[in-house]
Amino acid sequence: MAHLTALDDAAWQGPWRAVRVGEKVVLSVGLLVTALVSPPWPGCVLVAIACVALTCGPARIPPRTLAIAMAPALTFLVIGGVTVAVVLGGTPTPNAFFAWGPLWADPATVSKGVTAFSRGVSGTLSVMLLATTTPMVDLLTWLRSLGMPSPLVDIASLTYRLLFVLLSSALAIHAAQTARLGRISVATAASATGSLLIRSWAHAARLQAGLEGRGYTGDLPTLPRARSASPAFLATALAVVGAVWAANLAVILT
């Protein structure tokens, strides 16, 4: 379950935590949208390169962390990409690469598969650029400043906090079960789920009591965080996204 905290740990520690959330969102979403509308070459490849370079370069996220983060997504993207590339049923086109029973693929379908795969990889990397540099709390504070209703932000923040309380419970339950020779089974999963649910309720009740002692009557106001704007960061972000678009255009025009 190491991957459960790998991204979060990175987000709290990196130097980009000092950058305004809005600026990081511009960079990340700019790259994401670019990836989604680009052809695999050069757009998706360039987005992927830019993301890896920025994440592991100036944002100083260990490449290992990024690799851990990408692993589950890659599994889906590989299976998904192949599934898109290979057609089931219909009539194979004359230029099909192969036709095994109802399965076949031709350059057009393979190109779709490759496009889906490369957009998936570069898109996920774009989101990871944000995820590994911005803790959830900063994103939620940012959403609050954009006008997201306070109760919703409060609930999301509390969910995030309780996540880690429950995570340590889940790890402990798992350790306790294996220590007493429990194997992974439907029964152990059910009792783990049950005790986790009881614990989440109990903890919510205790936190409620703790908060009431601190004067909680329904609102959870906290200090807004002030971060100074960085025109240089924003300019670089726009330049990187712009460069990918320029490369796309150049290839399309030639």
């Binding site: 009591a209 009431e212 002692g213 601190r214 004067g215």
Partner: protein
């Protein structure tokens, strides 16, 4: 001064935990609250903080009775703060600054003042370096300090603490004691629930012992030397107060230093009288 008179409190459907408990926390006082597990210490603290509404009995601050309405509680809590034993029950925010700022923000203070208070509190506890850290990444001792910071940032005149030294190593206990001393010298009244009778004897002015849902209160050395009382409260006297009578020494040494001095005196006396 914070007082409780004849409190009766229970959890729904159970026997009362408190059945006529009275306690007085004088201004600037250092009172240790002692008692067995499950005796009602925590419930008493929760009543005093306004978090638990007693079935019967009065709580008063400076002679003014606590009303359990929204307004009364609000006023009470701006002066009386409770720090729970398990810090995880109290920390709700994802990072330290946000968490500590909750109380002052909730009091409606201007942002600049909240920021100053948070900074001052973290500095006083020596945890400025934690300001930007994630709550869930803090160690046990750090969590305890941050939970305490959340209460201190409210600038309360009364601080109620449930087992502030539990689970800490000797250095952590010493740090926590120094923080409490600092708060005491700043004029905060402190009521501290603890299992550590040795610590209580050395630190507190008075002890309040919970027995059978009631409270017996008095000077700390006197209370902790009352064998019958301690036995009924299922407590053991501090080692100094067990050793002294064994050696036939008079006086109630509260620390190792006092104990050593007392024995030394007897040794010298023996030599001179013999």
């Amino acid at each position: 001064m914070l007082t409780a008179r004849d409190l009766v409190a229970r959890f729904p459907g159970r026997e009362p935990v408190l059945s006529g408990a009275s306690i007085t926390l004088p201004d600037g006082g250092r009172v240790a609250l002692l008692g067995a597990n499950g005796c009602g210490k925590t419930t008493l603290l929760r009543c005093l903080s306004g978090a638990h509404r007693p079935e019967r009995g009065d709580i008063a601050r400076d002679g003014v009775r606590l009303e359990h309405g929204r307004r009364g509680l609000r006023e009470h809590r701006s002066a009386v703060q409770l720090v729970l034993q398990d810090a995880a029950d109290q920390l709700f925010s994802a990072d330290v600054t946000q968490d500590v700022s909750f109380g002052p923000m909730n009091l409606g203070l201007p942002v600049a003042e909240v920021r100053a208070r948070v900074d001052d509190t973290l500095a006083m506890l020596g945890i400025e370096h934690l300001a930007e850290r994630a709550t869930h990444q803090l160690s046990y001792g750090e969590q305890k300090k941050v939970a305490l910071a959340g209460a201190i940032a409210m600038a309360p005149s009364v601080l109620l603490l449930d087992e502030p030294t539990a689970g800490l190593d000797p250095e952590g206990v010493a740090e926590m004691t120094a923080i409490l001393d600092r708060l005491h010298s700043d004029g905060t009244s402190l009521l501290v629930a603890t299992h550590d009778v040795d610590w209580a004897l050395a630190w507190a002015d008075a002890a309040a012992i919970v027995v059978d849902g009631m409270v017996r209160q008095g000077p700390v050395a006197e209370m902790l030397d009352d064998q019958a009382l301690l036995a009924s409260a299922r407590l053991t006297p501090p080692w100094t107060l067990r050793l002294a009578p064994r050696l036939g020494l008079r006086g109630r040494p509260r620390t190792l230093d006092e104990m050593a001095a007392l024995i030394q005196a007897r040794l010298t006396e023996n030599r001179t009288t013999a």
